[in-house]
Assembly symmetry: C2
Homo-oligomer: 348 residues x 2
DNA sequence: CCTCATATACTCAGAATGAGTATATGATAC
DNA sequence: GTATCATATACTCATTCTGAGTATATGAGG
């Protein structure tokens, strides 16, 4: 409470604090840049995954990442593009900052000793390149890490068979003192996040769901980080494939962001080749969002919003009538609402 | 190019890079937490401002900020709440991370020497407390720093009289090599950001506009950071009041985020007292967004979305018929779309 | 040339939206 | 006390948007 630092804080003006705070307290932070590089290949949403040494829980998969070198790079993004290219051979196109993670004990660092590692997560969208062109890493489906997010064939069975009973069990147990100060009960949080008891499924709540599974000790990362220490990670069913450090958390953030963003910004076209049919576009959106869309209304929306223009060419051998080819109308980036593909799921 | 670090990167697996990179390259980063604490007082949107020593350009105003102490705080947010309370006496309610700023030479640090300072910006929303209750700092209107964002009395005059001619002049000059690689011309960027030539005004593009003014050398911070060195900052008209470090940039990010977020999440109620009339709610929204709203439709939307419930009480002495008092329906946080106050400006 | 599968075009009812007019009611002035 | 004012609240209506369907076009393959 009344540590020397605390006293100093209230006594001096804010701009002196950095100077007065002991250097040892400030300097022990390292910054890691992490990239969730997303593409869609064959109607499968994929992320660029690097395989590394197994961690204590046996996780080998991780996102491309590297240190931020203040001396070398003027901005985070320059640094990111630089070493992503060096590491994987991929030249990033669209990239945006996601979130900065710095919780102690979430495998952003080596625990309570050594320098604290702060992870800045980035989302990058790219057209899928074949694995042969990758210097390192591979494109893995993101549903491999988050099977409960895959609604393309309807509600995934894992929700009923594994997640729901285990979460209900967790929710029925008394919350720890920390959680008891929260305004919403465990039951409510579970219901809202996973759409139990008639609540609807919100495909954007990817991170909230992962965090809840983590808190409930149902993903391997939780046991590795020392949560729910009563059982070892070997005993529990693995929900999805774990990742090293807190990379699955970053990937969850990325998936949620993409799912939200394609609805209000035309970022979907970062994932498309230069020319495409409207159905290919729809399949790409469905790969990301999950549910099937109403085909006729999807076309009406996309064309009506002026997002695309016909190239004049058609694609033959579609299995039926030839499909017109379209390209992205780059001008919409300069127009006001710059709408994404607003979509509601169809019935089938 | 072929620095030793570069070679190492492509040769080893990613997880070894942190360990192999020289400690000296990584450790020289300090993390500052910055809080844009926003409230609405008397229909004026305000931010909590701390006055400090004048910087080289004479700026004295800044956001509350402090160092992140890895040893002391488990998470950024805990650290933020901790020293915001110690510095200003304010107990933060709603808070969310905005962005992490780390550009060299943007007054996040002392230049090219010394440790690099990385700023993590946070947005906090709170009910306006009177200045008397503040230990330090004062509530200043955010339009004091961004006069061109204040559309409550219609299009602000400063756009016509100062900003438009100067930006057109800047846009007509040849872009530097750096800018020439950009796909959109200066003219286009100016048009879109500021709504010239019939383009519409997007109230969410607060950061884009500030960045453009910075790039054009029209805000004091630009001259201070060494941009447009031909003229000194004293010679130019000051557009808004400058802030220390890159705090105006962080505040711009905060304003843009709030303006966007109240449209799809019910965060507006973080700024309201427990009970309020619908017109008070509308005035608060207008203070943030700028334009006047259609009163009848606003009520229909807010009530129709189930965002509020009547308390049963009325407020007398409104100057006319007494107004029913409402409170926020906290349950909507648990419902699916958790809509914000979707609004379109009215005509008057 | 018939069938199939897919692409594309058109229709229609109901909901949401933008923009009004009409009415209710306490405060205030005379 | 009552006429007037100012604001709150209720209702209306035309237009657009949305969800969901049916109808038609056209190359591929037997």
């Amino acid at each position: 409470m009344n540590s020397p630092t605390e006293l100093r804080r209230s006594a001096v003006s804010a701009d002196r604090i950095v100077a007065l705070t002991p250097r040892s307290e400030l300097a022990s932070v390292e910054i890691g840049l992490n990239a969730a590089i997303v593409a869609v290949a064959n109607n499968e949403p994929v992320a660029l995954i690097i395989r590394g040494e197994p961690d204590v829980a046996g996780a080998t998969d991780g996102l491309p990442f590297g240190p931020f070198s203040p001396r070398e790079h003027r901005t985070f993004e320059i640094g990111l593009r630089d070493w992503v290219h060096a590491q994987t051979g991929v030249e990033l196109g669209y990239a945006e900052q996601l979130y900065t993670f710095g919780d102690r004990g979430r495998s952003t660092d080596s625990g309570d000793v050594g320098p604290r590692v702060v992870s800045i997560g980035y989302l990058a969208l790219t057209e899928a390149k074949s694995s042969l062109e990758l210097a390192r890493g591979s494109w893995n489906s993101w549903y491999y890490y988050f099977p409960w997010e895959d609604w393309r064939q309807g509600r995934p069975a894992i929700l009923e068979t594994v997640i729901e009973p285990r979460l209900r069990d967790w929710a029925s147990r008394p919350a720890t003192p920390v959680s008891s100060t929260q305004p919403v009960s465990r039951q409510e949080r579970v219901r809202i996040c996973f759409g139990f008891d008639g609540a609807s499924w919100d495909e954007e709540k990817v991170l909230e769901r992962f965090e809840l599974l983590y808190e409930a000790g149902l993903v391997d990362e939780a046991a590795r980080d020392g949560r729910d220490s009563a059982k070892t990670w070997q005993e529990r069913p693995r929900l999805g494939t774990p990742m090293r450090f807190d990379h699955r958390r970053i990937l969850a953030t990325a998936i949620g962001r993409v799912r939200a963003k394609i609805k209000y910004r035309p970022v979907i076209f970062e994932l498309m080749p230069g020319e495409f049919t409207l159905y290919e576009l729809q399949r790409t959106v469905e790969a990301i969002l999950g549910p099937h869309l109403h085909k006729q209304n999807f076309r009406r929306l996309v064309e009506g919003a002026g997002l695309v223009e016909p190239t004049g060419e058609v694609r033959m051998r579609t299995g039926g009538r030839p499909a017109k080819l379209f390209r992205f109308r780059r001008e919409v980036l300069l127009e006001r609402p710059a709408p994404g593909v607003r979509v509601k799921p169809g019935k089938s």
